[in-house]
Symmetry: C2
Subunit: 392 residues, 2 copies
């Protein structure tokens, strides 16, 4: 039996996990989060039992809001972690490693979140789900829904990559293109939700999505023999991976399985940086920005629903936030492929471009350990690669 | 210290691993294979030590011809293995599972072979390497060479997928397009080799490549708690994965770590099926076919250098061989994505289409266990997906 309950982050009211609500049913606006009874978890399992579990993120099932019999898995998690061979040295870092999140089943970290949220939705009896996405979250949801036998619809902005939409469709999902900016697709999904057209598996709002992404922290800690690195650097749009990591490290620390939390750093694209802007101005809330364009389409979120939580995680962990240009992102992509043999999509490479800036600014020093997740596969956008690199 | 030596499969002469020759230096035509001193391996390690090793194929380093300090790794191997949720039931199989080889670092099983062959080449002091490839082997070699700091050239047929060549180029490799059929690219590479233009890292001929692919067998056995499944079904062009699996299972059996070898089945495209043709006619040697076209470009090998060895492996393991049409391959791709949530490229899906035929022919019965490796990512060819599915 899972020890999990749901709690409203705004009014504090509790809900049952299997009701799988998206927002608080009482105050009608608060996002929810999963709370585990860590005392009971500790009675059942210790950190050394973990290694005997499956070779996927489900080895941490005792810390997830899912019963074993409801698990919907495509083998997500337990992605490779490899040391930098060349770039770290060049940039003066003695201990840089990459977590190859693009090795997940559909080619992005999103599979961590989707596996958990689809498992909960399936257990709750969902027959139809939908989400808004410019690409990776949509194709991930489509894949897990195919496996679970759940109908899936994705609301996508009209400028979404055709390659990513083709991947979404191959799993049998319906793609609805929404005219206007990325945010218009979000509004269309919210309308569908209010109209009761199934379950809104919002990767930007669902508490279950973050339960999945938190397993990144568990794996990083387990790989460090239950220690934690000094820094982690994330590309941030909605912030679901950074927030998942923050929740994961916080739970490990509360379990006394690890000590402390890495400094979590947030990297955004210069043309869409609401969280970086708020961080630099010392604000505790995010002001939505106008939509522009960036090569890093995966982090083009002008009004992140969890922006406030990201700012809190940066502050609480001692991390920071910087923005990078498209030129810096493409240069990072080139360096990563040529110096390390790793091919990640531009959105992921924003984090690498940001790492360079953090070193230059003195936020990270040469003897500190850094883990950088490579969130999405370069294959996701290989079609337009030469053109992009030529243009810049 | 590795226990490995090289032996000519034709005249039996022994060679040193670090000389890293491609063909026998005495008879000038024999392909080489690695021989391990399994008695010495057994003294050093037992199968239960393996689980304490790294989360990559290098956990089996004692059975590989590489010293620890020469390892060039991108985290290859230890790919997810997942049970069929729907297709197996539909086809009357109670125990079908997929090995997600496309979760490897560059999106295909080739990374297993490349990691080992580049590790050996690096140890041997190679500065420039080349291969001929229509796609996956080329991008894999490019990635590992980038990591190892070795210059890389890929000879590609002029009709090779632009998406795959773009991936090869991103790692900094040079792509030389060769006019004519796939075999013309092979001849260009052989000419470069005879002219002494560096090391020919031929995935079709190198003994080290198969050392890497054999780790698939080790993982499947370890996942089955050191038992073996009844059947494995492979898409076959050059046959490097099937031959690797055969060598791996043979070594495990000789070590007494497992008993028996699964029946290994070979699936080819109807328009390029030299091995299936030889099998069906009861021949022990392969007659080259003329080049045609197939959607499964990765197995378009008209004259497989190891064709004879593949036939021997089929015979020795009790497996069989069938050919499938492009229409059957695309239907298998669609079913795999829609029923299982798994997206593999057409070449991989040839194996699934073949599995269906093997069941229909009675070669595989409902209560037997089957493992099917999904060799390459669907993302590798997503660009032309809709067009292909529409055309057929």
């Amino acid at each position: 039996m899972s020890t999990a309950t749901l709690q409203c982050t705004s009014c504090g009211k509790d809900f049952d996990v299997l009701a799988a609500p998206l927002l608080c049913g009482v105050c009608k606006k608060g996002l929810l989060q999963v709370r585990h009874n860590l005392g009971r978890v500790r009675e059942r399992v210790n950190r050394y039992d973990i290694a005997r579990g499956p070779k996927s993120l489900w080895r941490y099932v005792e810390l997830l809001p899912v019963e074993r019999e409801s698990i919907t898995t495509l083998g997500e998690g337990m992605t490779p972690s490899i040391k930098s061979e060349n770039l770290g040295k060049e940039w003066g870092l003695s201990n840089l490693s990459f977590k190859l999140e693009y090795g997940n089943p559909t080619g992005s970290f999103k599979d961590r979140g989707t596996s958990v949220s689809v498992s909960v939705l399936r257990a709750s009896g969902a027959k139809e789900v939908f989400d808004d996405s410019s690409g990776n979250a949509g194709s991930s949801l489509a894949a897990y829904c195919a496996r679970a036998g759940i109908a899936c619809t994705i609301y996508a902005p009209s400028n979404a990559s055709e390659q990513k939409l083709a991947q979404t469709r191959v799993y049998g999902a319906k793609v609805v293109k929404v005219k206007g900016p990325r945010a218009a697709a979000s509004r269309a999904a919210l309308r569908a939700w209010r109209a009761g057209k199934g379950s809104y598996a919002s990767h930007l709002r669902s508490p279950f999505f973050i339960e999945g992404t938190k397993t990144l922290a568990f794996e990083v800690a387990e790989e460090h023999r239950w220690d934690v690195p000094d820094h982690m650097v994330f590309p941030v749009g909605g912030g679901s991976l950074l927030l998942g990591a923050f929740k994961g490290f916080t739970e490990l620390s509360e379990l006394n399985w690890t000590k402390g939390i890495p400094k979590l750093h947030c990297i955004q694209a210069q043309t869409c940086s609401p969280i970086v802007d708020a961080y630099q101005r010392g604000r505790s809330d995010v002001v939505p920005t106008h939509e522009s364009t960036t090569i890093a389409a995966g982090i083009m979120i002008t009004d992140p629903p969890r922006g406030r939580q990201v700012l809190e995680a940066l502050k609480s962990s001692g991390g920071s936030a910087v923005a990078v240009s498209d030129g810096e992102i493409l240069e990072a992509q080139r360096l990563l492929a040529r110096c390390e043999g790793l091919f990640a999509e531009p959105t992921s490479c924003a984090a690498l471009a940001g790492l360079k800036k953090l070193i230059e600014k003195g936020e990270i020093s040469g003897d500190e350990s850094v883990v950088l997740p490579l969130t999405g596969s370069g294959l996701k956008q290989v079609g337009t690669l030469r053109e992009r690199h030529r243009r810049l």
